[in-house]
């Protein structure tokens, strides 16, 4: 395509020929049709192959048509837009498929009875039973882990941002926080397990909380650190210049300014540990009955319940259904936490209203 050809199509120097607004949709529809046609002829039977093929055809067709009609620069623009859309759709597929599968299979047994009863003496192959004991266990274990990890994590971040500077201790702490971020959950579980074995203890809920706290702490430190760094230095100086001591400045100016972000960070950390299975499997062990005491005796937890229902189902659909319903419960649990976090962040965010 020569340059002159492009210039000739333009009515003026400032207005180029442009494709109509609906053209991307038309090209998309055309590419899907062509892709299905090719697939049927070539004998591809996987829908994923159809999708990828239509994506590819869409990109090539967009570039070809746009380059011919609008010129090469606009074609590049369109292909970049197209790539973003294709990537978005590709990323959306697993998400939608996961949500769809969980919801459609989970609602089968998810009802008030399921949420308010434990497995008790219901055998895995029998229908009935519920998830109440696992919800109690998850709430207690995650709650205790948060009570341990959130204050330590937030205080560590306050030290790093407000006091540590670039000192040796601060750098060492940052390094170990980075290392802790990379600790696999099973290793955290094994660490607590080794302590339990030394003191000859039986599995109990709080042991799981300890392992979860180890996993949660670095996430809280990292997110809180970033939030504190966002607080403008001018606010700290303004407070110090009023003769307010540093610790009160942090308590009354810095933390309130960033509380929304810190809450969001803690909530996301909770969401991350709520789905941990490995340390819970080692330390909490699992229980078919309701155990309200996290400090004595084995407990249940949602991710562990899902795993056990699945692995001990012996091919019975009732156990599968319970595993899916528990998955849906867990997703809802995490989602409610996220919504609460967003609510708090919005409510506490510095206001600019007039």
């Amino acid at each position: 395509m020569s340059n002159a050809a492009i210039v000739d199509k333009r009515p003026s120097a400032l207005r180029g020929a442009s494709m109509p607004k609906w053209s991307p949709w038309a090209i998309a529809a055309g590419s899907v049709a062509v892709a299905i046609g090719i697939s049927l002829v070539a004998g591809f039977d996987s829908k994923i192959q159809w999708g990828l093929l239509s994506g590819l055809i869409f990109l090539i067709a967009t570039y070809g048509i746009a380059a011919r009609v609008e010129g090469r620069r606009q074609a590049k623009d369109r292909i970049a837009t197209g790539l973003v859309w294709v990537a978005f759709l590709v990323a959306l597929i697993p998400l939608l498929s996961l949500v769809w599968t969980t919801v459609s299979r989970g609602v089968k047994v998810l009802d008030i009875y399921f949420l308010t009863h434990s497995m008790g003496i219901v055998a895995d192959a029998q229908p009935g039973g519920g998830v109440y004991h696992a919800i109690i266990g998850s709430l207690e274990q995650v709650g205790l882990a948060t009570i341990i990890a959130a204050p330590i994590g937030i205080l560590t971040a306050v030290y790093l941002v407000e006091y540590g500077g670039r000192g040796r201790l601060a750098r060492a702490v940052t390094f170990f926080v980075d290392v802790m971020t990379g600790v696999p959950s099973i290793v955290a579980g094994l660490f607590i397990l080794s302590l339990m074995l030394i003191f000859e203890m039986e599995p109990f809920g709080f042991a799981g909380s300890l392992a979860l706290a180890i996993l949660m702490m670095p996430v809280v430190v990292r997110s809180t650190e970033e939030m504190l760094k966002l607080v403008p230095n001018e606010l700290r100086e303004a407070s110090l210049a009023l003769g307010v001591p540093k610790w009160r400045t942090i308590l009354k100016v810095v933390l309130p300014t960033s509380i929304g972000g810190i809450t969001t960070g803690v909530m996301l950390a909770i969401a991350r540990i709520a789905g941990e299975t490995a340390p819970v499997l080692l330390l909490v062990f699992g229980n078919r009955f309701i155990n309200n005491n996290p400090f004595e005796g084995a407990q249940q937890s949602l991710p562990l319940y899902i795993y056990q229902q699945y692995s001990q189902s012996a091919g019975e659909n009732t156990a599968y259904d319970r595993a899916w319903a528990a998955s849906l419960t867990l997703i809802a649990f995490v989602m409610i936490l996220n919504l609460v976090a967003r609510g708090i962040a919005r409510w506490k965010a510095p206001k600019s209203g007039r």
Binding site: A238, L242, G243, K351, G353
Partner: protein
């Protein structure tokens, strides 16, 4: 109530870099002293040494003496927090606390330093806002966020916040550089009123402003980039702007500098 500042042999450092060198001057109570000079000559740094805000910057370090009446701010055992209650500061950019209302912003210095009765607090807040010429504009929206005010109002809010703790000296670091001419005029009028009660030191890049508001003017300069800034001369404003004793001052003021 206002106090005299007497600086002798003061140098300030950022790490190993010496930002200002061997500055001595006397600032009389109930006067407005303006600091002028090119960017990077250490005016702001010097201002921040007067209420020990310089050492808040990492690596900040000061040598020399700053006497507030007869007490050395850098003497052994002096608490920087106590110094900052005596010597208040207003910054270049208005910086009201975003989580607080107008009322809470003004009351912040008192509230964060101890407990006050609500009625006493209300009196002080009203007095400070009137002192900052802001009361009539905000009296109906005391419970609205302070960040919702206009830039000029925010800066006057910051001045109200600073004078609410009844300091003896008020430092202002280019308080009008982010404001429009009308807000600047409001702040300059305010400075004229405040000088009956406080010793005021103001850093400004605007020489007309220095000529308008100040009684005394100090000219700072630096030999070259990377060299420490120095005090060239300090004299009555009228004299500095009509007949300065140093050639460099005249060059700077008349725009022949550099």
């Amino acid at each position: 109530m206002a106090k005299r500042i007497d600086v002798s042999g003061l140098s300030a450092y950022y790490g190993s870099f010496r930002a200002i060198e061997d500055i001595s001057m006397t600032i009389e109570p109930r006067t407005v002293t303006a600091f002028i000079g090119p960017s990077g000559c250490g005016k702001s740094t010097f201002l921040r040494t007067l209420n020990r805000m310089h050492e808040v910057t990492s690596g900040g370090r000061v040598e020399g003496k700053v006497m507030l009446d007869d007490e050395n701010l850098y003497g052994a055992g002096v608490d920087p927090v106590a110094v900052r209650r005596e010597v208040g500061m207003v910054f270049q950019r208005p910086n009201p606390f975003p989580t607080m209302s107008v009322f809470e912003n003004v009351a912040a210095g008192l509230r964060l330093n101890g407990s006050y009765k609500k009625s006493a607090l209300e009196d002080i807040v009203e007095k400070s806002l009137r002192g900052a010429n802001l009361w009539n504009e905000v009296k109906d929206r005391l419970n609205k966020p302070g960040s919702g005010l206009s830039g000029g109002q925010q800066q006057r809010l910051c001045i109200a916040r600073a004078i609410a703790v009844e300091p003896k000296v008020l430092l202002m670091d280019e308080p009008c550089s982010a404001l429009d001419p009308i807000s600047t005029l409001a702040i300059e009028d305010l400075i004229g009123e405040l000088k009956d009660r406080f010793t005021i030191v103001i850093v400004t890049h605007n020489m007309q402003q220095a000529a308008r508001v100040s009684d005394r003017t100090a000219f700072f300069n630096l030999a070259a980039v990377g060299q420490p800034g120095k005090l060239i001369e300090i004299d009555d404003t009228e004299r500095i702007f009509s007949n300065p004793s140093v050639q460099a001052t005249e060059d700077y003021i008349s725009g022949r500098f550099g």
